[in-house]
Subunit: 327 residues, 2 copies
DNA sequence: TTGTATGCGTTATCAG
DNA sequence: CTGATAACGCATACAA
């Protein structure tokens, strides 16, 4: 790898001049500029970001911490973040936390050890020293903490909508699936749904689940219909679980949506191609990722910030696992 | 952030001693060790990886380049890579290439600018200077190049299996979907399928597709049944497309698998919960990711390497979009 | 307009 | 067993 010294020597100038020309700081004569440029070309020089980072105590690196990229909601988020970052010349150090505090800590630590200029995190414990002590900006994604910059959607409202639409379409023995206890967004949507069910005086049951994994989803689905065989409406904790419930319902010979209605959550890409296609509460994942990155960059670059807390809209996405609403 | 100098001062020793104790290089008296340890604790010191990287010209950073994390095949791969890396204290700088040479170049460049010690790449152009000129080890994932370290599965064989099983189950007017022209694995499986179809003298049509995106998949599916309404077997280019074809077939009132059989490719997690569940050719994505990371680490750490080219097995995963084989 | 010297935080060499 | 010190590649203050 050629260094700035090589370039300087090759161009017959000092490293300072090369540095100035590269960074566009200070004057440099047209002729010498030309010399330096050809030197750079010939040596295929590219600046060593590590040295830069050491000197400036700032890098072009950013940390992204997500629970599990294997859950189809997160790739959308990640892609949004990545696209925005890459368009602004930032790079991403990526890690999966598995919602585990230790792993999370560990990643955050290596983020700072590597001089990242900011981090985007999807965590259940934003209100901890792990984040409070950070000297760099943090944006929470898909999660919130009061007064902390964050991009998320209104889980409670999403849950309420799901329940409301389910009731409006005639289900009267509803089963609400409660996602993992320590996952905030899962609990928010759960609470929202239960709230609405109670308000409307509708009978409901709860099935507890402890993960969002594809492999477990089938188990929750079986359990659901074993415990509540006469349920006529399922509000799932996310689309994966909803898909598993749909699968199980059809396997048991139940007609969807005639006998059982199902509403998912997230609107991950696969939801639209299920059979029947899944009715769900949509979160604009990709946009959320982009927004979070945009916000973080604004902090990093000290740009003006209108709002440091963005609540994105959730929308009822009606497809074929629900009946037409009664007028 | 506390530096090694702070620790040294705090412990009343020189930085050299602190460094020695941290890295376990050279002797250090038991008493001073204790002093240093408490100093580290009190100051919450963690070594600056950037400074380390600058001096040693080596980091704990690794580059991972994938086409598109939004395609559900890749999160599995990525997770495998990440798990193995993280267990070995390596971190990942991640980027999506969109199968685009420029983006790819760009990422590779910033990888080296950041002193990564190795890269894992899923690329269609492994045989280019971009990779040949790299001074650090590279492992190609899901793609191969002769003699280059790589982890992939046998696409041609996968295609052959798909066609063979489709024929064995009675389809006689098969449609093979050809994935994006520039994506090697897609072409391999396509060729394999066509090869087998020809060998067996079975009538077949080809539908060309140019992406793996969820949004486009529906279009290919519609087009397929418009052009070849009497097809009785579809070999899709991957599971996403297969899911779309399944969706469309049912929408058109076709019985699956009675009137149309469908075979996908990859066995992404969603395949098992489709209705009917998708028969597909499985690639062990997670394991492939792990294997690639393990291989890369072996290169990085100069460990002995048995095989630098790993071809993982593809397996026919029989579910419900195909009929029982004729005995 | 350009060059010299210094320091960013670490590790390794070498002398003590 | 320990401490000065040079060097990694770069950007900046200051001189020229």
């Amino acid at each position: 790898m050629a260094t700035i010294r090589d370039v300087a020597k090759h161009a017959g100038v000092s490293v300072a001049t090369v540095s100035r020309m590269i960074n566009g700081t200070g004057y440099v004569h047209e002729d010498t500029r030309r010399n330096i440029e050809t030197a750079i070309k010939e040596l295929q020089y590219t600046p060593n970001e590590v040295a830069r980072s050491l000197y400036k105590k700032k890098s072009k690196l950013t940390g992204l911490l997500l629970p599990d990229i294997t859950n189809p909601f997160f790739p959308e988020l990640a892609r949004g973040v990545e696209d925005e970052m890459q368009e602004n010349d930032y790079r991403i150090i990526f890690g999966n936390s598995d919602e585990d505090r230790d792993k999370e800590q560990d990643y955050i630590q290596t983020f700072v050890q590597n001089n990242v200029v900011g981090v985007i995190a999807s965590t259940n414990s934003p209100d901890t020293d792990t984040y409070r002590k950070l000297a760099i900006p943090v944006v929470f994604l898909d999660r919130t903490a009061d007064d902390s910059p964050s991009v998320y959607s209104d889980g409670r409202e999403g849950g309420r909508i799901a329940a409301r639409e389910m009731i409006a379409r005639g289900s009267r023995r509803v089963t609400v699936m409660q996602g993992p206890k320590h996952v905030r967004p899962a609990q928010d949507r759960f609470k929202g749904a239960v709230e609405m069910l109670k308000e409307q005086g509708i009978d409901y049951n709860v099935v507890q689940t402890s993960s969002f994994s594809f492999t477990d989803a089938g188990t929750w689905a079986e359990q659901l219909f074993r415990q509540y065989p006469d349920t006529d409406g399922v509000i799932a904790s996310n689309d994966i679980v909803a898909a598993a419930v749909l699968h199980e319902a059809l396997k048991l010979g139940k007609k969807v949506p005639e006998e059982v209605q199902i509403i998912g959550y997230d609107d991950v890409p696969l939801s639209g191609i299920l059979n029947p296609a899944l009715t769900t509460i949509r979160q604009p994942a990709y946009d959320m990722g982009r927004a979070a990155a945009r916000l973080l960059i604004a902090f990093i670059e000290n740009k003006p910030i209108e709002q440091s807390t963005l609540q994105m809209p959730v929308t009822f996405t009606e497809r074929d696992t629900t009946r037409k609403a009664e007028q």
